[in-house]
């Protein structure tokens, strides 16, 4: 088992380094001169004073070659230092520390909701295969899946807050268990639920035709016991994987929900750093999101054989 985990990690590292290099190179060559960007918003014309600019550049070590700077940046990143913001006088670490927990809360709560409602709905659909409920649930899932969150969120906002006045206008973030959180969480869990429903449905349908389920039926077990105790176990493995993917999508898709509902999370930080051309903050956000997603992928890879004994047996056999 430890060997398997190490192998997985070893496979991830070159990919991660390559991605970092790619992102850094794009920012380095594309984004423009960071020193000039730093002073463009300051009073006075420092930004056009070439001599002073060169002095500052030398002082900050920005005139060295790309690879040297990249190496230094990687070294710092692995120590957990993301550098300083170009626009605000704060470290990027600080900015992310104050925003990321909010995004994490939303993503966790939404992923929980997705599992809570998605799995039962998928089971219901599978048990009524090709029946009315199945068609309804599948149709609704496809419908919901095709609408992006930046369309659902505004429409629901207009409908519920303006036309029916059921909910107060959500703005800002005060925690998961407040009225303000209802709409963002609903919108966030809306689309991914379709994925989980479909996955659960196909899983349950394929499992129901297996021999051991027939045995359970022949033994006279109730439908509920058969589904929950026997059919669900092998289905849950791919569903858990799917939930991991859903979670990483929620983190990177937080941009839309946070912009629309004014939630001070990492997505909004990203948006504001795009607007302000604050590339070091943007880079920090990108790296943190990437790190989380890589971590999730790694965890999925590692727990997959733990959840599914068949895979574990296969590994033993391969040895």
């Amino acid at each position: 088992m430890p060997k398997y985990i190490l192998l997985r990690i070893a496979r991830w590292i070159p990919g991660v380094i390559l991605l970092l290099l790619f992102v850094y190179a794009l920012m380095f060559y594309g984004a423009g001169d960071p020193v000039r960007l730093m002073f463009l918003k300051e009073p006075g014309d420092v930004a056009w004073d070439t001599e002073r600019m060169n002095a500052i550049r030398e002082e900050l070590g920005l005139n060295r070659s790309f690879l040297v700077q990249f190496g230094e940046y990687i070294g710092k990143v692995f120590k957990g230092d993301l550098g300083n913001s170009l626009v605000q006088r704060r470290s990027v670490n600080d900015m992310i520390k104050s925003t990321f927990p909010v995004t994490l809360q939303i993503a966790l709560a939404a992923a929980f909701l997705v599992g809570l409602f998605g799995i039962p709905l998928g089971i219901i659909a599978a048990l009524n295969q090709n029946g009315f409920w199945d068609n309804l649930i599948l149709g609704a899932a496809l419908f919901v899946w095709s609408i992006p969150s930046f369309v659902t969120a505004p429409l629901l906002m207009v409908l519920l807050c303006l036309n029916f006045k059921i909910l107060p206008v959500p703005y800002g973030w005060k925690g998961v268990f407040t009225v303000n959180a209802i709409l963002p969480l609903f919108v966030a869990s809306f689309r991914p639920m379709a994925l989980v429903i479909r996955q659960t449905r196909t899983g349950v349908i394929s499992v129901l035709s297996e021999d051991y389920i027939r045995t359970a039926k022949a033994k006279g077990l109730s439908g509920f016991t058969i589904v929950v105790k026997h059919a669900l176990r092998p289905v849950l493995t791919p569903v858990v994987t799917q939930l991991g993917i859903v979670f990483s999508n929620l983190i990177s898709g937080s941009l839309f929900i946070e912009i629309i509902f004014g939630i001070p999370g990492i997505g909004r930080l990203m948006k504001s750093s795009i607007v302000d051309s604050d590339y070091s903050a943007l880079m920090g956000c990108v790296l943190v999101i990437l790190a989380v997603i890589t971590l999730i992928n790694l965890i999925i890879d590692i727990i997959y054989p733990l959840l599914d004994p068949r895979l574990r047996a296969q590994q033993v056999r391969e040895k």
């Binding site: 920012m27 060559y29 594309g30 423009g32 496809l142 095709s146 609408i147 992006p148 930046f150 990177s252």
Partner: protein
Amino acid sequence: MTLNTEMQMPPTQINPLEEDTNTKPFSIWQDSFGRMMKNKLVVISLVLIIILLFMAIFGPYITPYDYLAQDLTKRNESPSAMHWLGTDQLGRDVFSRVIYGARTASLVSLLVVFLSSLIGLVVGSIAGYVGGKVDFVLMWITDLIMAFPYLILGVVISVSLRPPLTEWMEDRFLATGNPIFRQTSFVDVFIVIIVITSTAWPPYARLVRSQVMMVRGQNYVTAARALGLSQMKIVRKYIIPNSIGPVIVQMSAGLGSAMLTESALSFLGIGIRPPIPSWGNMIQDGLLVWRTAPHLLVAPAVVLGLMTVAFSFLGDGLNDALNPKQWK
């Protein structure tokens, strides 16, 4: 029984059960089309998409107002007989702008699907046909891009492409004096297409690769090789035509998702930017005044929602019609 010689159909793909029926002979494509037309949702989606294309081509000539014409005396007006969907912050007609948005959306998504399926076809068929180390490296890159969240990649590419491109355009303008280089919308469309294409091609490559690997072992390919046909010719004449079916399904889904990504980028302010209307940037603009003028938000959101739903139902219908393995 008509053999579709143009598509180089291998005889095995034709349903032998149809041979002794008395009905008129029909090809596998007609058969698929007939099956697709039985699904009402698919027909509705198809109609919506045809309307979209019509709007994209002829829209700007039939709208009552110019999409840029401002009338500051009529700002944020609600829908009325004169302005069917009301007016926006600058008094522009929202209906005309939504219709012009169809042009932006279709232009971008058609080009993206064309480019990304082309790249996918090339990469996938090379990886699948050549195999070995080439296959390993190409698929590693493909997987890496697929594992990367497309939105984050999009943000990074678009943010870093814009400054150098804008600079280059300005240089060209100063050098040539040609006003075409002052058109910022060209840069926008170019960047959006590059961004979406670079994240959209991996699924095509994977799909084509698996298809090619399946077709590669068929007897007619071995026969072609035995006849001494060149590698290029085998790939072009036998492998690609026989593996294209699922790619068509993917292309239909790709149109919808490219449209969605374009709006998403425009919504974030890094795609198509005002004054050129895109549904995404209209939603973003509408968000500023949604409490007083909700129609600014609702109009583009509903149209975008309808279009993405239409593409996804069409993709689903195409999948049912074209993938014979799922027939039950």
